[in-house]
Symmetry: C2
Subunit: 177 residues, 2 copies
Protein backbone atom coordinates (compact mmCIF):
# COMPACT_ATOMS: atom_id res chain seq x y z
CA UNK A 1 0.00 0.00 0.00
CA UNK A 2 1.20 3.51 -0.84
CA UNK A 3 1.92 5.65 2.20
CA UNK A 4 0.07 8.98 2.50
CA UNK A 5 0.73 11.62 5.18
CA UNK A 6 -2.36 12.87 7.01
CA UNK A 7 -1.67 16.57 7.62
CA UNK A 8 -4.08 18.65 9.65
CA UNK A 9 -4.94 20.32 12.93
CA UNK A 10 -6.64 17.06 13.96
CA UNK A 11 -3.57 16.43 16.15
CA UNK A 12 -4.99 19.17 18.43
CA UNK A 13 -8.35 17.41 18.93
CA UNK A 14 -9.20 16.04 22.39
CA UNK A 15 -9.65 12.64 20.68
CA UNK A 16 -6.59 12.98 18.45
CA UNK A 17 -5.43 9.31 18.60
CA UNK A 18 -8.96 7.99 17.99
CA UNK A 19 -9.56 10.42 15.12
CA UNK A 20 -6.23 9.45 13.53
CA UNK A 21 -7.29 5.80 13.74
CA UNK A 22 -10.57 6.64 11.98
CA UNK A 23 -8.74 8.44 9.18
CA UNK A 24 -6.33 5.51 8.82
CA UNK A 25 -9.26 3.10 8.56
CA UNK A 26 -10.72 5.14 5.70
CA UNK A 27 -7.29 5.15 4.04
CA UNK A 28 -7.01 1.39 4.37
CA UNK A 29 -10.47 0.95 2.82
CA UNK A 30 -9.05 2.79 -0.20
CA UNK A 31 -5.84 0.77 -0.32
CA UNK A 32 -3.73 3.52 1.26
CA UNK A 33 -1.43 3.36 4.29
CA UNK A 34 -2.24 6.53 6.26
CA UNK A 35 0.63 8.02 8.27
CA UNK A 36 -0.32 10.28 11.19
CA UNK A 37 1.91 13.04 12.61
CA UNK A 38 1.35 11.19 15.91
CA UNK A 39 3.11 8.07 14.60
CA UNK A 40 6.68 7.17 15.52
CA UNK A 41 9.07 6.95 12.56
CA UNK A 42 9.48 3.41 11.24
CA UNK A 43 13.22 3.48 11.89
CA UNK A 44 12.98 5.66 15.01
CA UNK A 45 14.17 9.24 15.32
CA UNK A 46 17.50 10.20 13.76
CA UNK A 47 20.07 10.08 16.60
CA UNK A 48 21.29 13.48 15.40
CA UNK A 49 18.05 15.00 16.72
CA UNK A 50 18.71 13.91 20.31
CA UNK A 51 19.93 17.34 21.38
CA UNK A 52 16.97 19.21 19.89
CA UNK A 53 14.12 20.69 21.92
CA UNK A 54 10.90 18.65 21.64
CA UNK A 55 9.07 20.94 19.15
CA UNK A 56 12.09 20.94 16.83
CA UNK A 57 12.28 17.13 17.01
CA UNK A 58 8.58 16.89 16.17
CA UNK A 59 9.19 19.14 13.16
CA UNK A 60 12.04 16.92 11.92
CA UNK A 61 9.92 13.81 12.44
CA UNK A 62 7.00 15.23 10.46
CA UNK A 63 9.34 16.24 7.64
CA UNK A 64 10.73 12.68 7.60
CA UNK A 65 7.21 11.23 7.59
CA UNK A 66 6.32 13.36 4.56
CA UNK A 67 9.54 12.44 2.75
CA UNK A 68 8.58 8.78 3.15
CA UNK A 69 5.09 9.19 1.68
CA UNK A 70 3.85 9.34 -1.91
CA UNK A 71 1.35 12.09 -1.19
CA UNK A 72 -0.08 14.36 1.49
CA UNK A 73 -3.80 14.43 2.28
CA UNK A 74 -4.32 17.70 4.15
CA UNK A 75 -7.21 18.87 6.31
CA UNK A 76 -7.45 22.44 4.99
CA UNK A 77 -10.49 23.42 7.07
CA UNK A 78 -10.17 27.03 8.30
CA UNK A 79 -8.34 27.11 11.62
CA UNK A 80 -8.33 30.17 13.91
CA UNK A 81 -8.66 32.48 10.91
CA UNK A 82 -9.75 32.35 7.27
CA UNK A 83 -6.93 30.02 6.19
CA UNK A 84 -5.90 26.47 7.06
CA UNK A 85 -3.69 25.59 10.05
CA UNK A 86 -0.16 26.98 9.61
CA UNK A 87 1.55 23.65 10.34
CA UNK A 88 -0.61 21.96 7.72
CA UNK A 89 0.11 24.66 5.16
CA UNK A 90 3.83 24.37 5.83
CA UNK A 91 3.61 20.62 5.33
CA UNK A 92 1.91 20.83 1.94
CA UNK A 93 4.53 23.37 0.86
CA UNK A 94 7.25 20.98 2.01
CA UNK A 95 5.58 18.08 0.17
CA UNK A 96 5.28 20.16 -3.00
CA UNK A 97 8.98 21.09 -2.74
CA UNK A 98 9.76 17.36 -2.61
CA UNK A 99 7.60 16.74 -5.69
CA UNK A 100 4.86 14.88 -3.82
CA UNK A 101 1.20 14.98 -4.78
CA UNK A 102 -0.96 17.24 -2.59
CA UNK A 103 -4.63 16.50 -1.88
CA UNK A 104 -6.84 18.63 0.35
CA UNK A 105 -10.19 18.40 2.08
CA UNK A 106 -12.14 20.93 4.12
CA UNK A 107 -15.36 21.27 6.04
CA UNK A 108 -15.81 24.71 4.39
CA UNK A 109 -17.22 24.97 0.87
CA UNK A 110 -17.06 28.80 0.99
CA UNK A 111 -14.47 30.37 -1.32
CA UNK A 112 -11.40 32.03 0.19
CA UNK A 113 -12.34 35.65 -0.55
CA UNK A 114 -15.87 35.30 0.86
CA UNK A 115 -14.53 33.43 3.90
CA UNK A 116 -11.91 36.11 4.53
CA UNK A 117 -14.51 38.90 4.28
CA UNK A 118 -16.84 37.04 6.65
CA UNK A 119 -13.98 36.55 9.12
CA UNK A 120 -13.05 40.24 8.96
CA UNK A 121 -16.66 41.43 8.89
CA UNK A 122 -16.11 43.59 5.83
CA UNK A 123 -17.46 43.80 2.29
CA UNK A 124 -14.79 45.68 0.35
CA UNK A 125 -11.58 44.88 -1.48
CA UNK A 126 -9.25 45.75 1.42
CA UNK A 127 -9.23 45.20 5.20
CA UNK A 128 -9.11 47.88 7.91
CA UNK A 129 -5.30 48.04 7.56
CA UNK A 130 -5.60 48.59 3.81
CA UNK A 131 -4.37 45.06 3.03
CA UNK A 132 -5.94 43.54 -0.08
CA UNK A 133 -8.34 40.59 0.17
CA UNK A 134 -6.98 37.97 -2.24
CA UNK A 135 -9.96 37.48 -4.55
CA UNK A 136 -9.76 35.03 -7.43
CA UNK A 137 -12.68 32.88 -8.57
CA UNK A 138 -12.59 29.26 -7.44
CA UNK A 139 -9.85 29.48 -4.82
CA UNK A 140 -10.40 27.50 -1.61
CA UNK A 141 -7.52 29.24 0.23
CA UNK A 142 -4.43 31.32 -0.58
CA UNK A 143 -3.52 30.74 -4.23
CA UNK A 144 -0.23 29.02 -3.33
CA UNK A 145 -2.29 26.23 -1.76
CA UNK A 146 -4.75 25.80 -4.62
CA UNK A 147 -1.85 26.20 -7.04
CA UNK A 148 0.15 23.40 -5.40
CA UNK A 149 -2.81 21.04 -5.37
CA UNK A 150 -3.43 21.66 -9.09
CA UNK A 151 0.23 21.62 -10.14
CA UNK A 152 0.97 18.39 -8.28
CA UNK A 153 -1.94 16.53 -9.88
CA UNK A 154 -3.94 16.53 -6.66
CA UNK A 155 -7.50 17.57 -5.94
CA UNK A 156 -9.62 19.31 -3.29
CA UNK A 157 -12.89 18.19 -1.71
CA UNK A 158 -15.25 20.11 0.60
CA UNK A 159 -18.01 18.64 2.73
CA UNK A 160 -18.72 16.95 6.04
CA UNK A 161 -15.39 15.88 7.54
CA UNK A 162 -15.26 12.14 7.01
CA UNK A 163 -17.19 12.27 3.73
CA UNK A 164 -14.87 14.88 2.21
CA UNK A 165 -11.88 12.92 3.52
CA UNK A 166 -13.17 9.68 2.01
CA UNK A 167 -13.63 11.30 -1.40
CA UNK A 168 -10.12 12.72 -1.06
CA UNK A 169 -8.77 9.23 -0.30
CA UNK A 170 -10.52 7.79 -3.35
CA UNK A 171 -8.94 10.42 -5.60
CA UNK A 172 -5.53 9.95 -3.96
CA UNK A 173 -5.71 6.18 -4.44
CA UNK A 174 -6.48 6.67 -8.14
CA UNK A 175 -3.48 9.01 -8.45
CA UNK A 176 -0.84 7.07 -6.49
CA UNK A 177 -2.31 3.60 -5.93
Amino acid sequence: MRRVYLAGPDVFRPDAPEFAARLKAVCAAHGLDGVSPLDALAGGDDPAWAGLAEPLRIARRNEAHIAGCAAVIANLSPFRGPSADAGTVFEIGFARGLGKKVFGWSTSAVGFAARTRAFLGIAGARDAQGMLIEDFAGMADNLMIDGAIAASGGAFFAGAALDAFARCCAATARAVG
Copy 2:
Protein backbone atom coordinates in the same frame (compact mmCIF):
# COMPACT_ATOMS: atom_id res chain seq x y z
CA MET B 1 24.93 38.66 -5.42
CA ARG B 2 22.97 35.71 -4.03
CA ARG B 3 19.27 35.79 -4.82
CA VAL B 4 16.84 35.69 -1.87
CA TYR B 5 13.04 35.40 -2.17
CA LEU B 6 11.07 37.96 -0.15
CA ALA B 7 7.99 36.05 1.05
CA GLY B 8 5.25 37.85 2.93
CA PRO B 9 1.81 39.41 2.90
CA ASP B 10 3.46 42.69 1.89
CA VAL B 11 2.16 42.00 -1.62
CA PHE B 12 -1.28 42.91 -0.22
CA ARG B 13 -0.19 46.39 0.99
CA PRO B 14 -1.63 49.47 -0.70
CA ASP B 15 2.00 50.48 -1.41
CA ALA B 16 3.16 46.98 -2.37
CA PRO B 17 5.55 47.98 -5.21
CA GLU B 18 7.14 50.76 -3.14
CA PHE B 19 7.52 48.50 -0.09
CA ALA B 20 9.10 45.76 -2.23
CA ALA B 21 11.58 48.35 -3.52
CA ARG B 22 12.45 49.32 0.06
CA LEU B 23 13.05 45.67 1.02
CA LYS B 24 15.20 45.19 -2.09
CA ALA B 25 17.28 48.25 -1.18
CA VAL B 26 17.96 46.78 2.27
CA CYS B 27 18.91 43.47 0.61
CA ALA B 28 21.31 45.24 -1.74
CA ALA B 29 22.93 47.04 1.18
CA HIS B 30 23.70 43.58 2.57
CA GLY B 31 24.99 42.21 -0.74
CA LEU B 32 21.79 40.28 -1.50
CA ASP B 33 19.60 40.35 -4.61
CA GLY B 34 16.05 40.49 -3.27
CA VAL B 35 13.39 38.83 -5.44
CA SER B 36 9.79 39.98 -4.92
CA PRO B 37 6.70 37.88 -5.68
CA LEU B 38 5.68 40.90 -7.78
CA ASP B 39 8.70 40.46 -10.10
CA ALA B 40 8.45 38.86 -13.52
CA LEU B 41 10.53 35.72 -13.96
CA ALA B 42 13.94 36.40 -15.53
CA GLY B 43 13.19 34.09 -18.45
CA GLY B 44 9.46 34.89 -18.54
CA ASP B 45 6.64 32.52 -17.65
CA ASP B 46 6.86 28.90 -18.79
CA PRO B 47 4.75 28.68 -21.99
CA ALA B 48 3.15 25.55 -20.49
CA TRP B 49 1.35 27.82 -17.99
CA ALA B 50 -0.46 29.77 -20.70
CA GLY B 51 -3.73 27.88 -20.22
CA LEU B 52 -3.79 28.27 -16.44
CA ALA B 53 -6.07 30.66 -14.58
CA GLU B 54 -4.23 33.73 -13.23
CA PRO B 55 -3.95 32.60 -9.57
CA LEU B 56 -2.51 29.25 -10.65
CA ARG B 57 0.01 31.01 -12.91
CA ILE B 58 1.03 33.27 -10.01
CA ALA B 59 1.56 30.17 -7.84
CA ARG B 60 3.80 28.56 -10.48
CA ARG B 61 5.75 31.80 -10.88
CA ASN B 62 6.35 32.13 -7.13
CA GLU B 63 7.49 28.50 -6.94
CA ALA B 64 9.92 29.17 -9.82
CA HIS B 65 11.19 32.33 -8.09
CA ILE B 66 11.90 30.33 -4.92
CA ALA B 67 13.61 27.54 -6.86
CA GLY B 68 15.97 30.16 -8.30
CA CYS B 69 16.94 31.63 -4.93
CA ALA B 70 19.46 30.52 -2.30
CA ALA B 71 17.19 31.36 0.61
CA VAL B 72 13.79 32.73 1.56
CA ILE B 73 13.41 35.71 3.88
CA ALA B 74 9.82 35.53 5.14
CA ASN B 75 7.66 38.15 6.80
CA LEU B 76 6.10 35.94 9.48
CA SER B 77 4.13 38.72 11.21
CA PRO B 78 0.72 37.44 12.33
CA PHE B 79 -1.82 37.90 9.53
CA ARG B 80 -5.59 37.67 10.12
CA GLY B 81 -5.05 35.19 12.97
CA PRO B 82 -2.30 34.09 15.34
CA SER B 83 -0.09 32.63 12.59
CA ALA B 84 1.70 34.05 9.59
CA ASP B 85 0.05 34.50 6.18
CA ALA B 86 -0.83 31.15 4.60
CA GLY B 87 0.87 31.90 1.28
CA THR B 88 4.05 32.84 3.12
CA VAL B 89 3.93 29.67 5.24
CA PHE B 90 3.42 27.56 2.12
CA GLU B 91 6.42 29.22 0.52
CA ILE B 92 8.80 28.50 3.40
CA GLY B 93 7.60 24.89 3.40
CA PHE B 94 8.28 24.72 -0.33
CA ALA B 95 11.73 26.28 0.15
CA ARG B 96 12.53 23.83 2.93
CA GLY B 97 11.47 20.93 0.70
CA LEU B 98 13.94 22.21 -1.91
CA GLY B 99 16.69 22.38 0.71
CA LYS B 100 16.86 26.19 0.80
CA LYS B 101 17.70 28.20 3.90
CA VAL B 102 14.71 29.80 5.62
CA PHE B 103 14.96 33.11 7.49
CA GLY B 104 12.04 34.85 9.16
CA TRP B 105 11.18 38.23 10.61
CA SER B 106 8.10 39.48 12.42
CA THR B 107 6.70 42.61 13.97
CA SER B 108 5.49 40.44 16.89
CA ALA B 109 7.87 39.40 19.66
CA VAL B 110 5.10 37.56 21.53
CA GLY B 111 5.47 33.76 21.59
CA PHE B 112 3.03 31.62 19.61
CA ALA B 113 1.08 30.18 22.55
CA ALA B 114 0.55 33.58 24.21
CA ARG B 115 -0.37 35.13 20.86
CA THR B 116 -2.88 32.36 20.15
CA ARG B 117 -4.48 32.74 23.58
CA ALA B 118 -4.71 36.53 23.15
CA PHE B 119 -6.30 36.06 19.71
CA LEU B 120 -8.85 33.59 21.09
CA GLY B 121 -9.39 35.53 24.31
CA ILE B 122 -8.76 32.49 26.49
CA ALA B 123 -6.31 31.46 29.19
CA GLY B 124 -6.42 27.65 29.21
CA ALA B 125 -4.80 24.80 27.37
CA ARG B 126 -7.62 24.31 24.82
CA ASP B 127 -9.90 26.57 22.78
CA ALA B 128 -13.72 26.66 22.87
CA GLN B 129 -13.84 23.72 20.42
CA GLY B 130 -11.54 21.68 22.65
CA MET B 131 -8.60 22.06 20.27
CA LEU B 132 -5.21 22.21 21.99
CA ILE B 133 -3.16 25.43 22.03
CA GLU B 134 0.30 24.44 20.77
CA ASP B 135 2.47 25.52 23.67
CA PHE B 136 6.22 25.01 23.57
CA ALA B 137 8.74 27.46 25.01
CA GLY B 138 10.47 29.72 22.52
CA MET B 139 8.27 29.07 19.47
CA ALA B 140 7.43 32.11 17.33
CA ASP B 141 4.71 30.24 15.35
CA ASN B 142 3.63 26.66 14.65
CA LEU B 143 6.56 24.34 15.38
CA MET B 144 6.91 23.33 11.72
CA ILE B 145 7.89 26.94 10.97
CA ASP B 146 10.39 27.35 13.80
CA GLY B 147 11.63 23.83 13.08
CA ALA B 148 12.31 24.62 9.42
CA ILE B 149 14.14 27.82 10.24
CA ALA B 150 16.36 25.99 12.73
CA ALA B 151 16.92 22.87 10.60
CA SER B 152 17.82 24.87 7.50
CA GLY B 153 20.44 26.93 9.31
CA GLY B 154 18.30 30.06 9.24
CA ALA B 155 17.29 32.48 11.98
CA PHE B 156 14.32 34.52 13.19
CA PHE B 157 14.19 38.20 14.18
CA ALA B 158 11.37 40.17 15.79
CA GLY B 159 11.08 43.93 16.00
CA ALA B 160 9.96 47.01 14.08
CA ALA B 161 9.43 45.98 10.46
CA LEU B 162 12.42 47.36 8.62
CA ASP B 163 14.79 46.92 11.56
CA ALA B 164 13.88 43.24 12.00
CA PHE B 165 14.12 42.77 8.25
CA ALA B 166 17.57 44.40 8.12
CA ARG B 167 18.87 42.15 10.90
CA CYS B 168 17.42 39.19 9.01
CA CYS B 169 19.22 40.29 5.84
CA ALA B 170 22.52 40.58 7.71
CA ALA B 171 22.17 37.02 9.04
CA THR B 172 21.11 35.72 5.61
CA ALA B 173 24.11 37.38 3.96
CA ARG B 174 26.43 35.71 6.46
CA ALA B 175 24.82 32.33 5.75
CA VAL B 176 24.60 32.44 1.94
CA GLY B 177 26.72 35.41 0.84
